[in-house]
């Protein structure tokens, strides 16, 4: 076993990541339902979601079931009533006696690392507040590897680079692969200085405009700009409007450019992009399944590596 719990992408080496991505590739036909394999038969996964995230919960459920395992769910509503009565520590002590692994989503940062201290079974972090969401980063990397390439990658990240944990984790992981990174955002939502300095020591990173780099890049990763980040509606509309992508924006792009987005989107990617060969965001979401299969297999299979 390479890791017992999956708490943060920072806990993984490049080698660990490559291993998971290869395992995910192996499970892809199983995820697609084209091949049947049940290495996790007889295993039980508990989904503990202390805040709603139907997409992530379903993805884990599909991954577990496709591998022959079973799933019990605690919904956000149930969880909130549990949370009123007892501590997370107690909930984990109890559930870790029922299940063979726990997927945890919790509104507080550090909840998953804390849960791991109280668990007899592996904890997989499915998002802890504004903290970590390692399976998202791994599925992002898998999408890049699958639909583009992690070698000599030129990637632009656009939108909210200040608050988006998805962006921060992905950027850190990309430095392990020596990517060339372009940052596109309104000045008020720029990448935190500290993180910028940290990655600048490792890879080439530049602040840019989309028009300047659109012909160069292999991947355009778009994130949502949230209304709440702006003092007033007018300011928001003005700023958000200039960080949108439509089919016309992509006319000058490389043939094999891929557009990614962690979803759900609002209107930062126009539906006109959906019909282009560049659109990979729905595929990206689906790739969460083989990636989560790989992780579940790694922490649960008796004869895993």
């Amino acid at each position: 076993m390479r890791f017992r719990h999956l708490i943060s992408i920072d806990d993984l080496s490049r080698d660990d990541i490559e291993y998971i991505l290869e395992l995910a590739e192996k499970f892809l036909p199983v995820a697609e339902g084209k091949k049947k394999e049940k290495p996790l038969e007889g295993k039980l996964l508990a989904n503990l979601f202390f805040e709603p995230s139907t997409r992530t919960r379903m993805s884990f459920e599909v991954a577990m079931k496709r591998l022959g395992g079973e799933v019990i769910n605690m919904t956000a509503q149930e969880a909130s009533s549990v949370a009123k009565g007892e501590t997370l520590a107690d909930t984990i002590e109890v559930v870790s006696k029922y299940a063979d692994a726990i997927v945890l989503r919790h509104p507080l940062e550090g909840a998953a690392r804390f849960a791991a201290e109280h668990s007899d079974v592996p904890i997989i972090n499915a998002g802890d507040g504004a903290g970590q969401h390692p399976t998202q980063t791994l599925l992002d990397l898998y999408t890049i590897k699958k639909e583009s390439s992690l070698k000599n990658l030129k990637i632009a990240l656009m939108g909210d680079l200040k608050y988006s944990r998805t962006v921060h984790s992905l950027i850190k992981a990309l430095t392990l692969f020596g990517a060339e990174i372009y940052l596109i955002s309104p000045p008020s939502l720029a990448l935190p200085e500290e993180l910028f300095e940290e990655i600048r020591e490792k890879v080439r990173v530049e602040v840019a405009e989309l028009e300047e780099v659109i012909e160069e890049i292999d991947v355009l990763y778009v994130t949502r700009i949230q209304k709440e980040r702006f003092p007033d509606e007018e300011e928001y509309l003005k700023v958000a409007g200039s960080y949108k992508v439509d089919a016309k924006t992509l006319e000058r792009a490389k043939d094999n450019l891929i557009v990614m987005h962690p979803l759900p989107r609002v209107d930062e990617i126009d539906v006109s992009v959906d019909r282009t060969k560049h659109a990979k965001y729905f595929q990206q979401t689906f790739y969460g399944v083989p990636v989560r299969m790989a992780i579940l297999y790694e922490v649960l299979a008796e004869n895993g590596s």
């Binding site: 507080l108 940062e109 550090g110 690392r113 804390f114 802890d128 903290g131 500290e194």
Partner: protein, 161 residues
């Protein structure tokens, strides 16, 4: 040499000698009370404590000194002082003599000493949990990183429990 003697006498004026116990010298000026807090010495504690603040010092300009009579404080506890005063020195006193002298060493991890400024951090919830920080030195600056949420803090003295 003369100025050193002057300094010594100023020190003597500031705090009388103790018979046995622990003297913490070269504390950054103004941090003496924080040192007591780190050592868990509160109003109502039974230790006899002598404090000198803003004592002239050749090396530091001004410094604070804390003397705790009749008590030998553990190494781990004393090393926490490095979080707020990396140049502090420890003198163990036996029968009015210094029996051991050393510098505080920066611990790599501290538990329960600092609070995480991140309101959404699990350490600030009602869970049974102690704060835990990894200590890193960047040049002259001492930083702490929350084990749970990853929040980095620079001015550590602001976050001592």
């Amino acid at each position: 040499m003369e100025s050193k003697n002057k300094e010594k006498s100023a020190e003597r004026l500031a705090v009388s000698k103790i018979r046995c116990g622990t003297v913490i010298d070269h504390i950054n000026a103004g941090k003496a009370l924080l040192v007591l807090r780190i050592l868990g010495i509160k109003p109502g504690s039974s230790e006899r404590v002598l404090i000198a603040m803003n004592v002239p010092s050749k090396k530091m300009g001004k410094k604070d000194i804390v003397k705790v009579e009749g008590k030998y404080i553990g190494e781990e506890e004393l090393n926490r002082i490095a979080l707020i005063s990396p140049n502090a020195t420890i003198n163990l006193i036996e029968d009015y003599r210094v029996s051991e002298k050393r510098r505080v060493e920066l611990p790599s991890v501290v538990e329960g000493i600092l609070t995480c400024p991140n309101r959404n951090c699990i350490t600030n919830s009602r869970e049974p949990i102690k704060s835990r920080f990894h200590i890193v030195k960047k040049g002259e600056e001492v930083r702490a990183v929350c084990h749970y949420c990853g929040r980095r803090i620079c001015e550590l003295d602001r976050y001592v429990v």
